[in-house]
């Protein structure tokens, strides 16, 4: 082996000083230095000399350190879940879109909620003005969720809900409609995003301060570990961190640092690592730099496995497996020549598949213009189906594994992310690093650098800063009817008349008492939603007890 390597080293030197040098003398390279999106230096050529210990670094799929995938057969057994994020306007309209997507061959549902729902306001709250039903579906009471999942069998689909601050309320509603459909809690499968730390960092839909927010999360984790065992209690999300402008290294590091904070909180609440870690899941972005992205997924998986084993002493291999959903990078889509976005999404989706994702959302070509149209959503879903069924990319496990370049990048990304995590550890962990604005500033600096590099044409974006055409942006866009807000308000009024208001009040009072104490809040919330207490009322009761978070803004 080492004899071979010595021989190779010799030959490589010969090549550099001979063939390569001659070529470079005649034709210099396009750039002085080649770098990845995360500023990692790229050599002209990678060889087996760059590969280190196969057994230790790569191993086998389904085995520690899971570099080559969390399952032994990966997509040879079953394709990734094709899960398009959807939701807009009213529950009725979203229910129609869900059924359309299921008919088109989508295999899991993913609910987008409007901003008032995500921030715990009812549709008739003054802060909700102009926002009802815009970026997702409006949910005020259990009735809305009943309509949303009408005739969709909850024991046959898994549902992902992008909900964070009020995650407990939506989960409670989901459990309640499950019961109404005659499906017990043990059979419900799905995910709530439930990742509050990244809200403070990157997405902005927080309600409460960090401490009570973390308590709500651990209450959910505890409740589900006993009552809803198939539920993914949290989806630790790098997606939004990347959308806010981080690079790939920061995406891995900040996501994992947040993950470690949730693990610490759950351990402090008295759970054993192997009791809850198997239900932790992740959510990543798939960005433009194809090979760096493939390497990113592999590096993140290996790093998480090592941390779970070495830092926390997890024994169950399931605790060490980083399972993740991926979404292609919305922030890379251009309003100019929107059809080019289909190509961007294809490459990003392929990178996610080659990186071993468990589930995938492909963005629609018109997202830089508005919410996607049905036609655009269909193309986006077809993109996944073509990769799955036509490209052959799913026919062997980790087909890029062993690429000298990708393995080298995987090692570098892992190392650099580990260093950044060490820095966050030194600051006292993710919540403290967020408190000090460290993570936010790091992301903003990267976002600024990136945007500058686009404006200076160091980074070429086809159709945006190069290869431009005169065009009219005449793609038909999706519009949300302003009447949705009025309809929601009417619905709310009727429910407040119909329900037993005394019982609702009693439920809310008991919830508040529990919030002041240490009881698990989930049973109280479930009771309240079943009585048709509104999301705004439940969050309002908790606001009174917990207070509201006020963010510092850094520019």
């Amino acid at each position: 082996m080492s004899e071979n390597k010595n021989k190779l080293r010799e030959e490589l030197e010969n090549w550099k000083n001979g063939t390569l040098k001659k070529a470079l003398d005649r034709f210099p390279e396009r750039r002085e230095e080649f770098k990845t999106n995360s500023d990692i230096h790229v050599d002209p050529l990678y060889t087996p000399l760059n590969e280190e210990d196969y057994i230790e670094n790569l191993g086998f799929p389904g085995e520690y350190p899971f570099t080559r995938g969390v399952q032994p057969t990966m997509y040879r057994g079953k394709f990734w879940t094709m899960r398009q994020y959807a939701g807009f306007a009213s529950a009725e309209e979203t229910n129609r879109r869900f059924k359309y997507l299921l008919e088109q061959g989508q295999t899991g549902l993913s609910v987008a909620f409007d901003l008032p729902t995500q921030i715990g306001y009812d549709s008739d709250h003054p802060m909700a003005h102009g926002e009802v039903g815009k970026v997702g579906v409006a949910v005020d009471t259990l009735e809305d969720l009943e309509i949303l999942f009408d005739k969709i069998p909850l024991d046959k689909v898994s549902t992902s809900m992008t909900i964070n601050a009020p995650a407990a309320v939506l989960l409670a509603m989901y459990i309640a409609i499950g019961e109404k459909q005659g499906i017990s809690k043990e059979k419900l499968a799905g995910t709530i995003q439930n990742d509050i730390l990244k809200e403070y960092i990157a997405r902005g839909t927080y309600i409460f301060p960090p401490e009570p927010s973390m308590r709500l999360i651990t209450d959910i984790i505890k409740y589900c570990s006993k009552e809803v065992p198939r539920w993914n209690t949290i989806s630790i999300s790098g997606y939004h961190i990347r959308e806010a402008g981080s690079n790939a290294i920061q995406e891995i590091a900040f996501t994992i640092a947040n993950g470690l904070a949730y693990v610490d909180a759950a351990l402090e609440s008295g759970l054993d690592i192997d009791e809850f870690a198997p239900r932790l899941s992740f959510f990543f972005n798939s960005h433009l730099d194809f090979f760096e992205e493939i390497a990113k997924f592999r590096a993140a998986r290996r790093l998480w496995a090592k941390l779970m084993k070495e830092r926390y002493g997890a024994k169950n291999p399931k605790s060490m497996k980083m399972r993740f959903h991926t979404q292609t990078a919305g922030c890379t889509l251009t309003a100019q020549q929107p059809n080019n976005n289909v190509v961007r999404v294809t490459l990003q989706a392929l990178a996610a598949v080659l990186g071993g994702t468990q589930s995938l959302h492909t963005n629609s070509r018109d997202e830089a213009l508005s919410l996607p149209t049905e036609e655009s959503v269909q193309i986006a879903l077809r993109t996944q189906q073509i990769i799955a069924n036509e490209s052959g990319a799913a026919d062997t496990v980790d087909p890029i594994g062993g690429s000298y370049y990708v393995e080298n990048l995987t090692n570098k990304l892992e190392q650099e992310a580990q260093e950044l995590i060490n820095k966050i550890d030194d600051l006292g962990g993710a919540p403290k690093a967020i408190d000090q604005g460290f993570i936010q500033k790091e992301i903003q600096d990267s976002a600024y650098e990136w945007q500058k590099s686009v404006e200076d044409k160091e980074q070429i974006i086809v159709g945006l800063n190069e290869f431009k055409v005169e065009e009219e942006l005449n793609l038909s866009t999706h519009k949300v009817d302003e009447k949705v807000a009025d309809a929601q308000k009417n619905k709310l009024e009727k429910i407040r008349e119909k329900r037993d208001n005394k019982t609702v009040e009693d439920c809310l009072n008991k919830l508040q008492d529990a919030a002041e104490g240490t009881d698990n809040l989930m049973p109280y919330i479930i009771k309240a939603v079943k009585e048709y207490a509104t999301l705004g009322e439940i969050c309002g009761a908790l606001r009174e007890t917990f207070g509201e978070y006020e963010a510092d803004s850094y520019i």
Binding site: L115, P116, Q118, I119, Y121, P126, M127, A128, H129, G130, E131, K134, V135, E199, R203, G204, T205, E243, A244, G245, C331, T334, A335, Q336, E367, A368, L369, S370, L371, Q444, A447, Y448, Q451, E455, L464, L473, T477, K479, V480, A551, D552, S553, I555
Partner: protein, 136 residues
């Protein structure tokens, strides 16, 4: 020696939209171009934004919204400025704003709407040209 007062800009995020990557980039780019920039932070009501603009004696109010609530929120802000006799403040809008909505927003008093793909230089130029014209 001639002293030039820097242009004061308030960058505002009305509504519940939490996507402020663009707003923060613009804030920083305007500051690098020599302007004084105040960023309101997330989740501001039209009233709050107008009162910050007045307090800060802003010449420019740059609003960013990606949630689709722009047609409700931007005109509301413009009309509040009018109520406070502050129509001379140059109001700009940015974000994911469909082409179809732009004429309406301009009718309502938003001077210019910058959609994805706009460079910071375009915005800086626009501000310099339009603020000076109004004799700020």
């Amino acid at each position: 020696m001639l002293t030039v007062t820097p242009i004061r800009v308030v960058v505002g995020k009305p509504g519940l939209d939490g996507h402020d990557r663009g707003a923060k980039f613009i804030a920083r780019a305007l500051r690098d171009a020599g302007m004084e920039v105040i960023y309101t932070g997330l989740r501001q009501t039209p009233d709050q934004i107008v009162s910050i603009a007045l307090q800060e004696d802003a010449k420019v109010l740059a609003l960013s919204c990606l949630s689709g609530a722009h047609n409700e929120l931007f005109p509301k802000i413009v009309s509040l400025l009018k109520e406070h006799d502050a129509e001379d403040i140059l109001v700009l809008g940015g974000g994911v704003i469909p082409e179809d909505d732009i004429p309406y927003l301009k009718e309502q008093g938003v001077s210019e709407v910058f959609t994805p793909g706009t460079t910071s230089n375009d915005i800086i130029e626009f501000i310099k040209n339009n603020v000076s014209k109004e004799g700020a």
